[in-house]
Point group: C2
Chain length 539, copies 2
């Protein structure tokens, strides 16, 4: 059997059924381009019969120059007792102007009776008529057997009858869906093998993650003969999500020798995953497999010393294969090796065994104890290390700030900030308004510094997070602010901690600007020469 | 073979090696009690030979009255060429005063040479001596074969030799560890079967989640004969984490008929998972399987209409079995059914088909378009629905607020707020300080309302989140603030959106207090009578 596996991405359809996920048509078009570059074979753009926004998507996607992905429209089989040509859903698929349709039909007798409230025979006719109708209209047809595994477990003959009907009608692919997400890998294996022995058309798998087995089920299905995997980027989707393509693809290609996309395309996986998260406005869990920022991050002291000797000791693949990179974390679990490694990364000379290094480690641990978290704020840590090693110039000093926020009845809220700085010995006193307090302080700070440092206009804030620490203290609790800034080339993060969210924001803001002005960009440990120099060689 | 599976929790040890996870000794003791109640068999409390905080834990845990969990201390085999009685690590385990030790040794010849830099024979002696030494000191010994699967794949004879040495020395359990997290389920199956045929002692599995297969690997191992699963709550741990016990346990018990904990204990799973996240100060992904707030949340219109007819249609298990509950989400994908269901939940009478309901749905969609997210802010949604149905009394009106935040040099930051309200026709003008702007506004608001509503002192803020929307707009971007409040019985969430974080916080704060004063507690849809009345019957 061929080792080529077709990747069907439903981030734009099933993915948007996940809580908190909402994509504009613009977002969907951008993601489409990104997925096409990554080598995905089908992109399910939406459900035109259900969602006006999707109708607009299908209209506008025609203007995109795609390299090889096929756009497909989703929908259901015709309504019971309605001829296909009169079914609004099927009509919407045709009107979408796609070359491929993905329609789902019932495989589980229970659903036919309870959800559709019709007969088993009528359901078979619904499947046949709908597939046939779309085929007659010149479309490629992918048939999704909804709840296939539950249906098979309850009434295998009927479940098989439904997909054979789809095959009879000319379906190009039959996809077995674990819609409830409750099936186990060994059941997937047995059922897919049985189906494979009974139909001739190509088979695919559509798994959900309700048992945290979406990826395992997809792999088991492929090993049992399925040749299409349906899933989403980052595993977005209804309830616990769909099978996560960002784990399925590397597992199939790097561990089992299947081919989905090219190695060059696989190396863009981390970038694609983060891009989609940004557009969906969702935080990626740091520990997400393959693409998470912590996927190859080593914290325990023993792991770090071993890693520094040989990467294979604690890494199951080379991070760069999926576009990720190794990181060494500095925390209270840090041994000397973590901090020394970090410093070396930055080109700072630290002697692992001297008392000064020990003092810095202690200072960092104390700050972390107060709530500073350097793991997510590399730039603040770098500033600390540089200050400790005496390597940093003073670009400006802060004397004071004042902030006023006022709102009356239905008037817009007003935010004004005044900052007083000392730059190169001169006193600078500047006021500014803003859309909010952090914006007002940011504007005042930049206005004050612009005359001395014109480059400051290139950098801006790109993300801002607040977390309440010591929640037992409620509104009096300390808050930790993490600020991400960018200047279109680099991105860096800084941290501030205080019981006052404005002061915490101010600390992070000031660190961020200081870091930018000091001008040391973070050395990328993934660069080969750097890794060689530091003795990190991947075999 | 018995169907009883032993659960070994390493949240407090391996779990803390995850990025962003840090637990105080207090936290660890609280979690220990919680895990013991849940029925976990072993709790790995820490690594006394590596971490002073852990030494304190083992000292203080002796004062806890545990029902049946055994506390175990982690450590490595003795250092090369060092007698066990002179090894500081082993000594620390003995000093911890535990009845059970969990020690790890090398199974992979590559590690013996590269990481330990010693001979294969010395490594075998290290394993034998260490296990023997601890057994001679009266401890139960669990031996973790580190990197067992990679070791077996590279040199099966040596890998088997290492664990047979541990068995020979009297180890009570042999745990096969997939330390790099790169092994696949079918490999786990084959290797565990082979090991089972070659050793007599009980076998366990310790999987990591680098391929998103930690849960699948744990299950495969049990099906192949392993009878202990090591993992963490919520899958915390180094890199991508350990096998997630919150998925492993329900899969084993509810799907495969193994016994780990009692059904009553299983029903506390969601509560335990959230408790641990709170203490670790980590957000639970909403879509986490079994215990996530979205694990049984239905968003797509078709799913919701089916669910309202019969829960089994889109739920693989009854949520209450793991202490979770069904939710219906209201969003732009909402059909009439979602909103009507929500309203019914609240005892508000909405006619699904009238123009008023359609208008409310449109209003909600518009607000969501502006950035309000009602999925995470049930109380704000409820206020909206009540206002729309004319059911809400005006508890107070806001006329204006002013806020001043000032910081000079090394003086502490000052935050002062003035609020002007109208309560029962009277004008109230109140000022207050605070640790920060939100605290100052909160204090002023409460001071103003206290004389009218004394109950207000029972409620307080328990969490506060800020998210930047439209990040392209940087510091001028809209922010969404989610505020969680509690009065020790109920917890509720409210939302505010503005380009000004203070105004957004103010909105969420005011909604939160309004909600509390209006006094309608959220009806819990998991309550049986309620579910019956609404026609939601789980078969």
């Amino acid at each position: 059997m061929s080792k080529a596996v077709t990747i069907f991405d439903t981030t734009l359809r099933d993915g948007t059924q996940g809580e908190g996920i909402s994509l504009s048509v613009e977002d969907k078009l951008k993601i489409t381009l990104k997925l096409d570059e990554m080598g995905v074979h089908y992109i399910e753009g939406g459900w035109p019969g259900s969602n006006n926004k999707d109708i607009e998507f299908f209209h506008r996607v025609k203007d995109l120059k795609l390299k090889h992905a096929k756009i497909t429209a989703f929908g259901s089989t015709r309504r019971k007792l309605t001829p296909p040509e009169e079914d609004a859903n099927l009509k919407a698929i045709l009107d979408a102007g796609v070359s491929c349709a993905t329609i789902f039909g019932k495989s589980w007798d229970f659903h036919v009776h309870k959800a559709l409230q019709t007969t088993l025979e009528e359901n078979l006719a619904m499947i046949y008529d709908s597939v046939r109708y779309l085929k007659d209209n010149g479309l490629e047809v992918i048939y999704d057997g909804e709840h296939f595994f539950d249906g098979y477990k309850n009434n295998p003959e009927y479940a098989l009858a439904t997909i054979k009907k789809a095959e009879e009608a000319g379906a190009d692919w039959i996809i077995l869906c674990d819609t409830n997400g409750g099936t186990l890998p060994h059941e997937i294996t047995d059922i897919v093998k049985d189906v494979k022995s009974k139909v001739n058309v190509q088979i695919g798998i559509h798994a959900h993650n309700d048992c945290e087995l979406g990826v395992a089920n997809s792999i088991a299905a492929v090993q049992a003969g399925a040749r299409q995997v349906q899933g989403t980027i980052n595993g977005f989707g209804e309830r616990c999500g769909n099978a996560n393509l960002c784990s399925v693809i590397p597992n199939l290609q790097l561990k089992l020798d299947y081919t989905c996309i090219s190695p060059e395309q696989l190396a863009t996986l981390t970038n694609v995953a983060r891009y989609v998260n940004e557009l969906a406005n969702v935080n990626m869990p740091v520990n997400q497999p393959f693409v998470g920022t912590a996927a190859f991050a080593h914290k325990g002291g023993i792991h770090v010393s071993a890693i520094l000797r040989h990467a294979k000791t604690y890494e199951h693949i080379t991070p760069e294969l999926v576009g990720n990179k190794q990181r060494v974390l500095v925390s209270e679990l840090a041994g000397q090796s973590n901090l020394v490694f970090k410093a070396q990364e930055l080109g700072i000379d630290f002697n692992a065994n001297n008392s000064e290094t020990k003092k810095i480690i202690q200072d960092i641990k104390d700050l972390e104890h107060q709530g500073y978290q350097f793991e997510g704020a590399d730039a603040s840590l770098e500033l600390l290390l540089r200050q400790a090693s005496g390597q940093v110039e003073s670009v400006f000093e802060v004397e004071s700030f004042k902030l006023l926020v006022a709102k009356t009845a239905d008037q817009p809220v007003v935010s004004e900030a005044i900052v007083k700085l000392k730059v190169h010995g001169e006193e600078v006193y500047m006021a500014a308004e803003g859309n909010g307090p952090v914006n007002a302080l940011d504007n005042a700070l930049r206005k004050a510094l612009l005359q001395y440092y014109p480059d400051i206009q290139d950098m801006h804030l790109s993300d801002y997070k607040v977390r309440v620490l010591d929640e037992k203290d409620a509104t009096a609790a300390k808050v930790r602010v993490l600020v991400e800034s960018t200047d279109f080339q680099n991105t860096w993060s800084t941290v501030g901690v205080s019981t006052n969210v404005i002061e915490a924001s101010w600390q992070a803001l000031v660190d961020s600007i200081r870091y930018s002005l000091i001008g040391k960009s973070r050395i990328d440990p993934a660069k080969d020469e750097q890794r060689e120099r530091l003795g990190l060689v991947n075999h």
